[in-house]
Symmetry: D2
Subunit: 263 residues, 4 copies
């Protein structure tokens, strides 16, 4: 009779005597197809990697792991700043929890035109939503923007040339009104020595080389320039900016981090 | 006048005197949105990671890297066993090469139903096309299938229980007629101790646990079972099967590899 | 004359007018050979991956990246809980900073004997020191312990067998007196369903299989068991325990996290 | 009586009726401390990641996974071009196989002096031995050398500056007499636009910037320059050179590969 559902003991639901509440419990690294907002095209299909957690009070032995996937699946794979709170509410209710967390990371594609030839191609940006529902709803947008940095010191001290490299600007923000992924990309790209592209013709390569040489940036400069632009935007209530530059003269990265305080 | 296109010297096109032909030259790790064939739904949008190479004769200094992205972009992101040859032909022609290679890897999602409850969810499978156009057209399909393996030795020698774990079956095939990704997934899943799922209710977990315990498989067994099924399919002309099991009693993998000879 | 050192302008040292202090700036991902403390053998040579950061006041343009490596190199590669504070002091002084951070991660090897046969082999554990010198000195020890978990639910509801898998217990602690890496490993291993080994003979495999089957553990159980043991140790003033289990019936991880509050 | 060793059935040793020989079976991803040859210091302790495989005839069900670790452990962790054949022989004998494979990869550290200041620091290089014992003994040395490449096209067409980046030169060779890892590093570094270092003072940065600007290299150039040097060395009987450049103006790599034919 053990194989009938009515008799399958619910071990997770049993009383736990160890008296240790758990901060976060759930599943990590779930790949799921998702649909996200796209400023130019309305929506974009991509691939999400999910962490889904709740808290667990001291007197329960375990959470019900299958319910995380059920909740996610019910929402038809739509993942936007606008519906995350309702997914979290469902998760909290279905899992009988006080706090719910969803972190989702995904590649986001943007069609960009080369600066001189105008030829267009897709660029990919690793983005993420880091969210929590507790008393309030907390939503952090993460956008990683690959850019180019030319070293100001190398340029200044050298008779010719200047070392440069690809750098990643990881920008995390909290907002009180929708900020598009595309806006963060633009801020990071215009703060760097130059933006980068999947497809550049020779005249574009000349343009990007000269543009970057004319705008040398330490990781310190790039992080500060991004911060100055974020500070001016009243929709952005908090930020954390991390710049990591794949130094062409070293086998390690140069790194700078600035976080807004007081929130 | 240096900044007008007509005067931009084509350095890549210059004569090379070193007398060293290059086997493969191009771009690696390009992320691009793609559309692939889907047996149930016609097509599926996902994210491809591309290697695009050609050969380069001894007397040219360099290839034209931007053309790889142009060719790819022209084909509207459709990537199927049926149109890969024509993309390779375009690439070979546009790059003035004799040999063209495209390797593309992508997550592929399949909706699967749990074995008892019937509840459905997406599973993800890392797939790839490894292709080359030379005198002939060569196409290899790669499908990675995560499954469960129960150790036959552990089951036999132990009074109770048996160690088990997630394993990955990497199946590469050449074919003379279309074989669906879904067919390879089914072969690997039914050859394993048990298939795995993103979403299982308690009655499903009981079923999978017992099914796997009744079908213990070494990596040697799993690779052989897959091979026996591939051998029976007249569409499949070559295979390489690699099984790697994330041993639960060790911090390393158990591994087996079988390749069809004589092609 | 530009190529004589006296005339090389120090761009980093220039005054910055943007009025944005930087929280952390430095280098990331530097691989360096290190020597760490080993309870059994006095010391162990291994390979460290370093992050080295300081803060930067609002009125300086950049930090001096080369000095991070100079400071590290001066200390003869010895990296222990006992000398980290003095390395941080040197770094803070040489970089003229208020705050200095060093994070270093390294594989640590321990010779372990199989439980029945007694045959011995090396197991590797990814460890780390996360340190900061500000007004005070902060030192966090991180130890990752791979172990085995048998699912209590699967065991309870199934007529035979139980799914199990490798799990990682990531334990971070602050301490007021030296706690050995070996002690954290022992706590995590004895809290799990069973420890794991690089080398097990058949009689050991039988022992581990049965031991684990007799001690089923959810990620919730394992994290709580570790916490109960850490709580009893007066040398440990703070902890964060994260358990991630590579579920054999799913293609994602089960995860639990408990952090000590109030420090 | 089942728990006494004499009665533990040897499942692996049973006859297999499926008639499918296995090309490679064993363990993958084992981390083990090793000692390698060091030209300057005699020997160097580092961390190896091992694949250990043998073949398995059609009539055996499984191999004995524990014996791989036993063989490795017996050799006191010394891993050199000189003793690999005897480790493989032991493995082949102990596992009763015809073919044995060992692949081991490890970080190797070299103390290098900056070009102007002379200040010294460690650089790390990912190296590997790819070996097989069949009728003969096959040994491939792999050395990955991070270097700098300046784009010749960008330099030529731009009024100022030139994009550059870190590139990796992966060199694999077969030899008939010992070639040091240090010699391969030197060949790759002197073939590139410039070598790179963990620690450079300002005068060194100026030197490297100018040196690299004066020696622009496509990935095609760098791979060819390395090949020309390898071809001149009578100890080197085969090579495969792969160069991948982390393009600073793109978010993908430029890649070139040249392999010596006819061996």
């Amino acid at each position: 009779m053990k194989n009938e559902k009515a008799f399958l003991r619910d071990v997770q639901n049993e009383r736990d005597e160890r008296n240790v509440p758990i901060d976060m419990v759930g599943i990590r690294g779930l790949k799921y197809p998702i649909v996200v907002l796209d400023r130019a095209n309305g929506r974009q299909r991509t691939v999400g990697t999910f962490d889904l957690f709740v808290d667990l009070p001291r007197d329960f032995r375990g959470t019900h792991m299958s319910r995380f996937v059920e909740v996610l699946d019910r929402h038809n794979n739509r993942i936007t700043p606008r519906n995350m709170e309702s997914i979290l509410k469902d998760m909290r209710e279905f899992l009988k929890a006080d706090v719910a967390h969803i972190n989702v990371f995904f590649p986001y594609f943007l069609r960009k035109s080369a600066p001189v030839s105008g030829i267009s191609s897709y660029s990919s940006f690793e983005c993420g939503f880091i969210t929590r529902l507790n008393e309030g709803f907390d939503f952090i947008l993460e956008v990683n923007v690959p850019v180019m940095t030319v070293c100001p010191c190398s340029k200044e001290i050298s008779d010719r040339g200047a070392h440069n490299q690809r750098a990643n600007a990881k920008v995390r923000i909290r907002m009180n009104s929708l900020v598009w992924i595309e806006e963060i990309i633009e801020i990071a790209e215009t703060s760097a020595s130059a933006p980068i592209f999947s497809l550049l013709k020779r005249e574009d390569e000349k343009f990007i080389t000269e543009l970057s040489y004319d705008n040398p940036r330490f990781v310190e400069d790039l992080s500060r320039e991004i911060v100055l632009r974020l500070e001016k935007d009243p929709r952005i209530t908090w930020y954390r900016v991390e710049v990591a530059s794949q130094e062409s003269i070293h086998n390690h990265e140069a790194y700078a981090c600035i976080e807004k305080r007081g929130i």
